[in-house]
């Protein structure tokens, strides 16, 4: 019974959102606002139910784990943002979180997103026994990376053989990247439509498996 109601609600709200494609209307607006409100409410409920209660309130009420008072109070200080006179107190949890995240994240982020990527670009252009397509692929990758970097080098005018031609090739490389991204984006958007159609025709109307 509840499942059926849920499916009907889901289907009707899907149609309400798609009604925007015809033109903006109050039904669409209602659905849009409900999405935002329900998402926020659901997030709060889940956070309380599986985080705040079992990880903070229950252990504190059991009489052990008094150490949890420290993060508990620190977390509550966030709420002082709503009281102008003591809103400065919210800077403590923000500072604590930012400091921790930076300290923990910086070395690993540098390694994952910079050093490993640089390492990944250091490939041989040619080695004996290397198939021709790998030679070609590595050459395109290295030259393409260099050309794109030249395009973003603004301390010299983009003129001459190195900076002029390099930046022109860089634009082509970047455009090829945009083209691939656009193709994937079209695929992604159609995939989302497919998901909704499967829901409407399958779960709701039962006309497909």
């Amino acid at each position: 019974m509840y499942e059926t109601i849920g499916i009907w609600v889901g289907a009707l709200f899907t149609l309400a959102i798609y009604s925007f494609l015809y033109k903006e209307n109050p039904i669409y607006r209602l659905a849009e606002h409900l999405v935002v409100g329900i998402s926020a409410g659901y997030g709060m409920a889940i956070t309380y139910q599986i985080t705040v209660k079992p990880r903070l309130i229950d252990p504190l009420l059991s009489g052990d784990h008094w150490i949890l008072l420290i993060p508990g109070i620190l977390g509550l200080l966030y709420i002082t943002r709503f009281i102008p006179r003591i809103s400065w107190l919210s800077r403590y949890p923000i500072g604590f979180y930012m400091g921790t995240a930076m300290g923990v994240g910086f070395p690993l982020t540098m390694k994952a997103n910079v050093l490993r990527q640089v390492e990944g670009a250091m490939v041989p252009l040619y080695q004996s026994g290397m198939p021709w397509y790998e030679v070609l692929g590595n050459s395109v990758m290295i030259l393409g990376t260099l050309a794109a970097l030249i395009y973003f080098f603004f301390s010299k005018p983009h003129k001459g053989l190195f900076f002029g031609t390099g930046s022109k090739i860089g634009i082509w490389v970047i455009m090829l990247g945009f083209g691939a991204t656009f193709g994937f984006t079209v695929m992604g958007r159609i995939s989302l439509l497919i998901g909704r159609i499967q829901y409407l025709l399958g779960d709701w109307l039962h006309v497909i498996d």
Partner: protein, 333 residues
Amino acid sequence: MSAVNIWEKMLNIDRRWIFLGIAVVSIVPFFINFGMPVVTTTEVEDIFYYMDDLGPDNAIFVSFDFAPGTQAENMPMAVAVMRHAFHNNVPVFMTANWPLHHGMMLAAMEYVFNPSTVGFYQEVPFDDWRELREADVTAKGELVEAWENQGNQLSEGALGWVFEGRDYAAMGYAPVFNLVILGMTVSIETQYPVDAHGNSTGEMPMLQEHKSLREVDMALTSSGSGACVWWVTYAREKIGLPIAFGLTAVMATDYYPYLQAGQVIGQMGGLRGAAEYEVLLAENGITPSTDKAFTGMDVQSAAHIFIILLIIMGNLAFFAGGFHKKTLLKGGR
């Protein structure tokens, strides 16, 4: 009506006709099966064959890092890998990096364990097999035998039993998930003292055998946001945990560099990536048939052909109408 007007009309066509066209080409293939082939790619095969080599002594994480907005793309990937793991008796830890993503984890479980799903797995909740656990019957083979000896029968169409705490653990959402990943490199139980159902994770056999991410063999992040990189940053770079990406199509090109640099073992990109995994599962007899992602690929192809035709027609009208020589169309373009 002059020829120029026809071209101009084509270029100024009401976009609602295009939406209608897309709707038609997206619905028709569900009723008329074209049977377009899905060819598997290396980046998906690499995940499949890596997974296929794992067994009961291994364990994986499936991280639900997506919201309902990208469910159509991300859900089939996570479901496919879960089925593969259950088939090979590989324990699966399920996590979520955001409250909304927690719901996606629960939805995936509901789908895989639902008797109306073709090729479902029959779940046994944690409390239901407490007696056997207390009698120290926790190895999968023995456990299934003892469970069936108690008079429990596998439902028709079910591919096997999955025991909560032995075959899967629904860990769910935990806040500041990047630091949770980092914490799990030391101890999973510390980060998740209880699972999403309120069960004590310390009592779970799979937690006793795999205490930290160092004792886990792979993490798949089925992701609709940049949070997938957290797994690379905090698990791959910290302890060398093999990571597999399941990404939305929009994200796919941005994350190929991680594949090229060898930081991830493979990548499923969008619905197509999920469809490829479903094809590999079906071809290898792991699932009785392909599932929703594969079904969607006929629609995908039809929609792409329609969009390509529109682009060709648009360009034809633009050049044939001589608009490349003019500054503005009537519509202001």
